[in-house]
C-alpha cells in the first residue's frame, strides 16, 4: 500500500462519537489511513449504558469495539495516548509520552468532563463524579464504606446517578440548586410530579439548595452546609452538576472557542482551522453544545462526508428525550417550556394515578411544538413524529394526550412520509426501512441488522416494529401465526396432529411436520402437548431435551442458577408433622423459607446436585411435587369453610383438596390455578382464578377464566348451584377444551377473550355439548388423572434420571459463583458487590 498518496486522518478521543466517526469513515471506503488516540486506558465503550455496570455489566460488556476489530479495519488505535500538543503549522500532534503523529486532517472528539462546582471541600476522598468506567469503580468502592450518599445535581444524569447509589444500598439524597428537577427538559409542574414520585421510591430530593462547604460530619463522614443555613450529613458526594466541553487543547492552540466554552464548528463540523474538525460533546454549533449521542453521531457523519468529498452537513439536532428513571417514565419533546411566541398549551393531569401530560402547539393549533410527559410516555413516539415531521394535527389535538377512550387518532405507520426520521441515533428514515424491506429483509431482526435502526438508545423500538409489521403486511407477508420457524402450525394445530397421528416423540413430530432441529419455543410446547395427550413421565428419555430447565430439573431456576422447591400442599391444609419436616429439611440444607402467595411453602437456594436428596426426604415424609415449575395445575386455594367458620355453608377445604388431587399433574398451555370459597364472602378469592368455586346453600357456583397477575380479569359465572358430580364434569370439560385449543402460553383468561362466541360459546360446548366432544374430553381427562405420577418420586427412583442432577460430569466441586449472605437470619444470594467485597468473585471467561 502506498501511504504517501493516502490522507492520514488522526482522531483525538475514542469516546462514543470518536468511535462512530471511525466506523463511518471505514464504511465510506474512502482511501485513507486512520489513527486513533484514546486518552483513556481502553477503547470506546457505551457511556449511555454506563449505569448498567452497577447491575452486573462488565467493561467488556460495555465495549463498543476492540483492538482486533480496529486491526481488521486497518485502523491504528493507541490507548493511554493523552494529547498535549498540536503544532498546527507542521501538522503534528504530541502525546504526553512524547510520541508524535503527523496528520493531514485532525478530528477532535474529546467529549466533555463533569463540572464540579467550586465548593470548598469538593476535592476530598469520597467526593466523586460519574463519567467513566473508572469513576464507577471508584463509586462502587466508596459505596462499600458508606451508608449515605448525596448526588449534587438533579438533572437527567444526576437522577441516573442517584438510582445507582440507591441500588448500591445507600440512603440516597439529591441536592438541586434550581427549584425543580430536570429543569432543562421539564416544566415546573412536571418537575414537581417527578420529585414526588422519586421521593416515593425512597430518594430524598432537596431543591433550591446551594452547597457552601463540605466539611467533616458529626454522624457521617461529611456535612454539607447550604446557603440557607441548613445542612445534610453524608458519607459520599457525587457531583453531577452538568458537563463542560473538553476544549483545553483547542483553546491552547488557538482555535476559536465559544464565550462559555466549546470548539466553534460550521455545518461541516470544521473548526476555525481548515484541517481540523470537532465533533461530539466538545463541539459548539450555533452557540449550542449537544449533550446526547445522536447529535454527536450526526456530526460524525457530516465530518466523514466532508473529508471523503461527499455532500453532508450538520444542521442541528433534536434534543427530545424519553427515559425511565427508577421506574418513573419521563418524556420531553421540543419546546417544553413554551418559549415560541403565540404557542398554546393543553394539559392533562391525573393526580391519583400520578400522570401529567402537556402538549405545546403553535398558534394555529396545527403543529406540535413540544410536550412534557410524566408517569406515562406511551404517547411519546406519536408526539415526537408529529413534531419532527411537521405532521398536521387532527381536529382536537387534546385527544393526543387524553387517556385512550378508544377514539384517539392513532398515528399509524402509514401517516409518516418517507423522509420521516424513525431512528435518530443512526439516522434511519422511514424510506430506509421500506428500502430494506424491498431489498429482502423480512423480519424485524433483519431490518435492525441491515439499517442499524433501534440499536442505539432503543427509543425508537416500538415505532420501528409498527412500521415493519405494517410494511410486511402490505406486501402480503402474513405476519405468521406459526409457533416458530420449525413448524408452520399454531399450537392448536400441533395438538391435533399429535393426537390424531398418534405421535409420541418430538423426533417423529419433526420428521412428519417440521424442519430443522426445533428450538426453545416448539420443544417445550410439544413436550406440554405430549403430556396433555399421553401424560408420559416428563423426563422420559425422549422428552427430556424438550423441557425448559424448570421442567428438566423439576424446580424453578432462580437468578443465581439455584432452584426452589415447592411441595404440594393441597388446599393449603398441612399437618404439624409435615410443617416440621419442611422446617427440618430447610434447616439441614440451609434453604431460604417463605410462604408463597399460593398457600404453600417455598424453599429457595438449592443447588442442582442437592435436589434429589432434598426431594428424597420430602417424598419419604409424604410430600409430592407441587409443579410450581410447570405449565400445569398449580394450587387450589381454599378458605377454612364450614368446618370452622361461622358463615361457611359448604366444606370448602375438602372440596379444594379433592379438586387439587384430581387435577394435579395436568399439563396445559399455561399454568392453571383454582380456588374454593366456603361462602359468598369469598375469602379464597376464587373469582381471580382460572377455575373458581364458591359454595352456595344448594351446592357450588362455578366461575371460569379469571386471572390475577399482570392483567387481572374477574372470572365469569359459568353455572350455579351445581352438585359435586356435575361440578367435576364441567371442570373436566372446560380444562380439556382449553388444553386442546389454546395458544402457547395463553392463560384461560386470554383464551376466553379470544374465543369466538365467548362465554356463551363455551357454555354451549361444555353444557349443551354443541360440538359433540364432551365424552372425548372427559375420557381424555380420565386418562390423565389415571396416569398421574409424582415426577419427583419417579425421578429419585431412577438412577438414569438422577445422572442429570449434577453440576459437573467430571467433578464433585460446587459452582463457586453461588454464594449466599445472611439477612433476617436466613440466606439470600450475595450481590456482585458483596462477592467482590469478600474477594470471592470468580474469574469468568468473557470474550
Amino acid at each position: 500500500m502506498n501511504h504517501s498518496s493516502q490522507q492520514h486522518i488522526v482522531v483525538i478521543g475514542n469516546g462514543m462519537v470518536g468511535h462512530h466517526f471511525v466506523e463511518q469513515l471505514v464504511n465510506s471506503e474512502y482511501n485513507c489511513r486512520i489513527t486513533v488516540l484514546s486518552g483513556e486506558s481502553r477503547l470506546a465503550y457505551d457511556r449511555v449504558y454506563l449505569s448498567s455496570y452497577f447491575s452486573g455489566k462488565t467493561a467488556e460488556d460495555l465495549a463498543l469495539t476492540d483492538e482486533k476489530t480496529y486491526q481488521d479495519w486497518g485502523v491504528e488505535a493507541v490507548t493511554n495516548a493523552w494529547v498535549t500538543d498540536i503544532d498546527r503549522d507542521s501538522k503534528v500532534v504530541t502525546t504526553k509520552d512524547g510520541n508524535t503523529y503527523s496528520y493531514d486532517k485532525l478530528v477532535l472528539a474529546t467529549g466533555s468532563y463533569p463540572f464540579v462546582p467550586p465548593i470548598p471541600g469538593n476535592d476530598q476522598p469520597h467526593c466523586l463524579v460519574y463519567r467513566t468506567i473508572e469513576d464507577l469503580e471508584a463509586i462502587s468502592a466508596s459505596a462499600q464504606q458508606s451508608k449515605i450518599g448525596v448526588v449534587v445535581g438533579g438533572g437527567l444524569l444526576g437522577l441516573e446517578a442517584a438510582n445507582a447509589l440507591k441500588q448500591a444500598g445507600l440512603e440516597t439524597h439529591v441536592v438541586e440548586f434550581a427549584p425543580q428537577l430536570m429543569a432543562v427538559q421539564l416544566d415546573p409542574m412536571g418537575g414537581d410530579l417527578l420529585k414526588q414520585k422519586i421521593e416515593a421510591l425512597g430518594v430524598t430530593v432537596h431543591t433550591q439548595k446551594a452547597t457552601e462547604v463540605i466539611e467533616k460530619g458529626q454522624h457521617s463522614r461529611y456535612r454539607m452546609k447550604f446557603a440557607d443555613g441548613s445542612h445534610l450529613e453524608t458519607d459520599l458526594v457525587l457531583f453531577s452538576a452538568g458537563i463542560r466541553p473538553s476544549d483545553q487543547l483547542a483553546k491552547e492552540f488557538g482555535l476559536v472557542i465559544g464565550e462559555r466554552g466549546g470548539i466553534v464548528i460550521d455545518n461541516q463540523c470544521k473548526t476555525s482551522d481548515n484541517d481540523i474538525y470537532a465533533i461530539g460533546e466538545c463541539a459548539l454549533w450555533e452557540k449550542r453544545i449537544y449533550g446526547l449521542v445522536a447529535p454527536g453521531y450526526a456530526m460524525a457523519r457530516a465530518a466523514v462526508a466532508d473529508i471523503s468529498g461527499n455532500e453532508g452537513a450538520f444542521t442541528g439536532a433534536d434534543m427530545s428525550t424519553k427515559l425511565k428513571l427508577m421506574g418513573v417514565e419521563v418524556g420531553s419533546i421540543g419546546d417544553a417550556h413554551v418559549r415560541t411566541p403565540g404557542a398554546q398549551v393543553y394539559t392533562y393531569h391525573d393526580q391519583p394515578a400520578g400522570v401529567y401530560k402537556k402538549l405545546v402547539v403553535d398558534a394555529n393549533r396545527s403543529l406540535v411544538l413540544g410536550a412534557v410527559l410524566i408517569g406515562d410516555t406511551s404517547d411519546y413516539d406519536t408526539l415526537l413524529q408529529y413534531s419532527l415531521n411537521g405532521i398536521a394535527l387532527p381536529e382536537s389535538p387534546q385527544a393526543l394526550i387524553l387517556p385512550s377512550s378508544g377514539d384517539a387518532p392513532l398515528l399509524g405507520a402509514d401517516a409518516l412520509g418517507d423522509t420521516a426520521t424513525i431512528c435518530s441515533c443512526h439516522n434511519v428514515s422511514k424510506g430506509d426501512i421500506v428500502g430494506a424491506i424491498d431489498g429482502g429483509c423480512c423480519s424485524l431482526g433483519d431490518v435492525k441488522s441491515s439499517t442499524k435502526a433501534s440499536t442505539g438508545c432503543g427509543g425508537c423500538a416500538a415505532l420501528l416494529k409498527n412500521i415493519v409489521d405494517s410494511e410486511l403486511e402490505k406486501r402480503g407477508v402474513e405476519v405468521s401465526k406459526a409457533i416458530c420457524e420449525h413448524f408452520d402450525f399454531t399450537r392448536q394445530e400441533l395438538y391435533h396432529l399429535i393426537q390424531v397421528g398418534g405421535i409420541k416423540s418430538f423426533d417423529e413430530l419433526l420428521e412428519k411436520h417440521g424442519t430443522g432441529l426445533g428450538c426453545d419455543i416448539c420443544k417445550p410446547a410439544a413436550g406440554s402437548i405430549f403430556a396433555s395427550v399421553w401424560n408420559d413421565y416428563v423426563l422420559a428419555r425422549q422428552h427430556q431435551p424438550l423441557q425448559d430447565t424448570n421442567d428438566t430439573y423439576l424446580g424453578n431456576m432462580q437468578k443465581d442458577g439455584t432452584y426452589s422447591i415447592v411441595p404440594r400442599v393441597a388446599g393449603g391444609e398441612i399437618t404439624p408433622d409435615k410443617l416440621i419436616l419442611l422446617g427440618e429439611v430447610a434447616k439441614k440444607y440451609n434453604l431460604y423459607t417463605k410462604i408463597t402467595g399460593g398457600q404453600r411453602i417455598d424453599l429457595f437456594g438449592a443447588r442442582v446436585e442437592q435436589l434429589p436428596a432434598i426431594w428424597q426426604a420430602l417424598v419419604e415424609g409424604g410430600f409430592e411435587t407441587g409443579h410450581a415449575y410447570a405449565k400445569a395445575l398449580r394450587t387450589v386455594k381454599s378458605c377454612v369453610g364450614s368446618t370452622w367458620c361461622r358463615y361457611g355453608v359448604q366444606d370448602s377445604v375438602t372440596k379444594a383438596i379433592d379438586l387439587e388431587n384430581r387435577y394435579k399433574g395436568l399439563r396445559a398451555p399455561h399454568k392453571i390455578k383454582f380456588a374454593v370459597s366456603g361462602c359468598t364472602r369469598e375469602c379464597a378469592e376464587a373469582q381471580g382464578k382460572d377455575i373458581g368455586v364458591i359454595a352456595t346453600e344448594n351446592g357450588w357456583n362455578l366461575y371460569v377464566c379469571g386471572n390475577g397477575g399482570m392483567k387481572p380479569r374477574h372470572a365469569d359465572l359459568f353455572a350455579t348451584d351445581l352438585d359435586d358430580e356435575t361440578l367435576v364434569k364441567y371442570i373436566d370439560r372446560v380444562l380439556m377444551f382449553y388444553a386442546k385449543t389454546a395458544d402457547r402460553l395463553q392463560r384461560t383468561s386470554v383464551w376466553m377473550e379470544n374465543l369466538e362466541g365467548g362465554l356463551d360459546y363455551l357454555k354451549s360446548v361444555v353444557i349443551d355439548d354443541a360440538l359433540g366432544i364432551c365424552d372425548e374430553l372427559e375420557a381424555q381427562m380420565q386418562l390423565i388423572t389415571d396416569s398421574y405420577q409424582c415426577e419427583w418420586k419417579t425421578t429419585i427412583e431412577s438412577p438414569e434420571a438422577l445422572k442429570r442432577f449434577r453440576q459437573f460430569v467430571n467433578s464433585d466441586e460446587k459452582d463457586s459463583n453461588i454464594q449466599f449472605v445472611s439477612e433476617r437470619e436466613q440466606i439470600r444470594p450475595a450481590t456482585n458487590a458483596e462477592k467482590y467485597a469478600a474477594g470471592k468473585a470468580i474469574p469468568v471467561a468473557i470474550v
Partner: protein, 116 residues
C-alpha cells in the same frame, strides 16, 4: 488426529455415555466451567463446548438450556432470559456485543476431550 504439540491443552473429561443427546452437561476444566452439548441432526452427531457462564443472566447455567436451530445456526437458549448463543461461534444472536467463549471438542476411543 491430534498432534503432539498441543496435547498438553487437551483434557480428558468423561465417557461418551455421560453426554446427553440434544442437551448439555457441564465440566470443570482447569477451574473453568465448560458446557458440552451433543446435537444429533439425524445424519450425524455434533459436539460443541462453550463457556458455561451466562454473561447476561450472570450465572453458570448455559448447559441447562434448550438446544435447537435458528435459521441454519445450531444454538442453545439461556435458561434464564432465553437469549440464544450460536454453539459454533459463541455469538449471542440477540446481542451483537455479547459472546461466549468456545472450545474444540474431540472424541477419541469413546472419551470426550476438551481443548483449552
Amino acid at each position: 488426529m491430534l498432534t503432539q504439540a498441543n496435547t498438553q491443552n487437551i483434557h480428558d473429561i468423561c465417557h461418551l455415555d455421560d453426554l446427553v443427546i440434544n442437551s448439555g452437561v457441564c465440566a470443570l476444566v482447569d477451574g473453568m466451567q465448560v458446557a458440552i452439548f451433543t446435537v444429533s441432526t439425524g445424519q450425524e452427531t455434533l459436539y460443541f463446548a462453550i463457556s458455561n457462564w451466562d454473561p447476561i443472566g450472570q450465572a453458570n447455567v448455559l448447559y441447562r438450556g434448550i438446544v435447537g436451530t435458528l435459521k441454519e445456526k445450531i444454538v442453545v437458549a439461556s435458561p434464564l432470559y432465553k437469549e440464544h448463543y450460536d454453539l459454533a461461534s459463541g455469538n449471542c444472536i440477540e446481542r451483537d456485543d455479547v459472546k461466549v467463549q468456545t472450545f474444540p471438542v474431540h472424541i477419541e476411543n469413546d472419551r470426550v476431550l476438551i481443548e483449552i
